[in-house]
Amino acid sequence: MRALRNGLHGLLLAGALLLAAGAWAAGFEVLKAGARLEAGVVRLDAQIAYELSEAALDALKNGVPLTVEIDIEVQRRREWVWDETVASLTQRWRLEYHPLARQYAVVNLNTGELKGFPTLTAALDAMGRLRDFPVLDASLLAPDDRYQGRLRATLDIEALPSPLRPLAYLSGEWRLASPWFTWPL
């Protein structure tokens, strides 16, 4: 049963990837993710590849900041019903272009930390790298249950200026999101 479900998941994932790859070159993708236990805290390391579409790049260069959301969830696996979400947190990043400095800046909206990068690639790399990110306290996890973590990154359309939003909702170029990436915990 589980094998079947896993297979189905895999199939769906592959289909989604294929679709994403076929439909447009741009997109987000979680390359790898893994958690480890460190001093009683589950910490996440992950790498996400952001590839912006033409429209998004154009907007960025024209002074429109882009906001990326990273949703992280920890789920308790259950046999017969859907998995229970134990913890869920969202990291928001804002990518903006500073014309005076000719630099790209990445702002962590959760902390307010701002960092400038001379190139877009460097900025996207920095934004896509999660190191020792604390997810939850290990004491919240029951030792007998099996857990899994999952992760995805999406472009937040609601954070765009309002005139762009209807277009962004309708256009595929703006629908930038990675599928859920699941790793065992």
Binding site: D58, A59, N62, G63, V64, H98, P99, L100, A101, R102, Q103, A105, G112, E113, L114, G116, F117, P118, T119, A122, I157, E158, P161, S162, P163, L164, R165, P166, L167, Y169
Partner: protein, 738 residues
Amino acid sequence: MRKHRPFGRGFAAISILTALLLVALFQLTRATEDSGRFSELYSVLLVVCGLGFVGLALQIGRSLIQLARQVRAHEPGSRLTLRLVVMFVAIAVAPVGIVYYFSLRFLERSIDSWFDVRVEKALDDALELSRTALDLKMREVLQQTVRLGVQLADAGAAITPLLVAELRNESDASELTVMSFSGTVLAVDSFETSSAASIAPERPDEAVLAQVRQGRDYVSLDPTQLGFQLRAVVRIPSGAAIGEDGILQALYPVPGRFSTLGRSVQSAYDAYKELVYLREPLKVSFKLILSLVLLVGCLAALSAAVHAARKLVAPVSDLAEGTRAVAAGQYDQQLPQGPEDELGFLVESFNAMTRALAQARDAALTSQRMVESQRAYLETVLARLSSGVLTLDSSGAPRTYNAAAMQILAMDPAHPDVRDDNSPLKHLLEAVAEYLASDSAEWRQEVTLFAPGGRRVLMCRGSRLPEVIGLKAGHVLVFDDITTLVQAERDAAWTEVARRLAHEIKNPLTPIQLAAERIRHKYLDKLGEEDGRVLDRGTHTIVQQVAAMKEMVDAFNDYARAPQLKLVSVPLNDFVTEVLYLYRGYPAGVELALELDPAGPLIEADKGRLRQLLHNVVKNAIEAIRDGHGSRLAIATRVNPEGAPDCVELSFHDDGPGFPEGSVGNVFEPYVTTKPKGTGLGLAIVKKIVEEHGGLIRAENPPEGGARIAIRFPTRPGGDHRPVPGLPASLTHSEEAG
């Protein structure tokens, strides 16, 4: 009246929906301008507006479909409603369309007017100027950093941290970091010594490090949370102190004035750039909202048009329905109160009209009922009259007659044929024709008619009708059948005559006879043979004639006498057989045939009188048969003959010549005789006896020939021997009255 108006509620819903939509659209406009706090709700507002719009469209579509269905079903008022709706919409849409068109034009123009090439150029130039200014500063900073690097190159590894701190204090730098060539931090000194930044210095990007390693110094303007900072990364040349080349990173704050101005320029540039970029989407958004507002306005106008048209037409359709109802004869329908205008006045007038109509109809109905009941009353009275009533029109043709008239005139109630020339009615009209022709207002006349039942004597009174109420001066005839009355009077007169005759004539007869006999006895011997013969013949004649007279007087006596009846129960069959025993063996050449009812009827009768009755009838019949060369007399008894229950019929039927034509009705009157001899009292006495017994006698010439006398005795003595037939209770109109 149909008062089903679901549109009021629908219209309220549409109104509320429209108001909400307009509010939402207003907020949407504010959100588009990105100025309000509704910016975050933009998408939600858009979805809400879309849904509201769809709901509004559905609601209005429903009412339009309903209207279309009503038009197709030809409901009253629906076509007028449709026309009004079309008119309203046409009136509303044209100006709205024009306003829409110009609004779109103005929208394009005004958004385009935000952008100016010169402004754009000025902003670009301002940015460039800022960069140039900062570039000078950066060059300066780089030179300073290179100098610092040279100073550090001479220092040994041990004193490097101290030197770094010293150098930082001396220079403008906010942070100095010395790194190994591979990027490991060797020493750091920060303006904020105690802050976390000193512990974890900002590492330059890997690409920067690579550039520096290749010997190219790096300087950049970095954005920070607060504004800008300058970053210079140089290679520390290898000296005695350090075995290999190092890397120095120095961070400098941008002087306050530069920072403020730079930020200001950048934000203005950013905002303008964004605005230019968003120009088209912004236009689309505004157009979308404008179109939504237009559509909502149009839909609201349409809905209001439907509602207003229905409201306007409602009294008209009520009137149409009411008119139909009145045309169909329903006057008791009142329309609901209309609005306070000309339509309302019309509705009020219509109601007043129907009320008046209803009252008129009720009055007509009442009077008609009164006339009907009076007529019915009159008819009943006329039907119960024993007198016949007949009305004639001005030409003398019968118009109406009552049941008694029909009975007296022997008309068939089912098919009263007034044109039959031989009918009694015709005879009656002929008899009174001279009165009808004359001018006399009233007259009376006794008329004798020959009806199938015999001669009838009518007392007829007539009077001319006045020339009013559409009768055209006809006549009304009232007549009574007085046949029986006349008969009774005649019988009574005869009885009196007979009694007197008997009394006055019989007294002198005996002296005459005695005197004649005495004369004969005394003078027969004394006279000679010749005279004696004359005397003998004379006295003989006298005696003989006196005897005959006596006989006649006795007969009169019999007729006049009303003896006390001694009624006993008589078995009629036995009694008839016994009495007629005398006539057995054809005493006069006539065969007597008895046809007796086996039921053996009993009647209450006086035997002597009954015997006399039988003798009289049979004798009379035999004489008639003998004269007429007949040979047979049938005597029959029958219990309950048809048409006459509770009675016994005794009938005599011969095959003689029958009663003479015209005298069938009065064969029972005294001195009506056809025979050469006889007193003419035989059948009169028979009738008298029958009547003494409460019976009925009748003479007729049956169609099969001969004569027939039928006598009916009641089986219940004292009872009503002659049941009066029920009279039909309707006045019959003749078919050809006019």
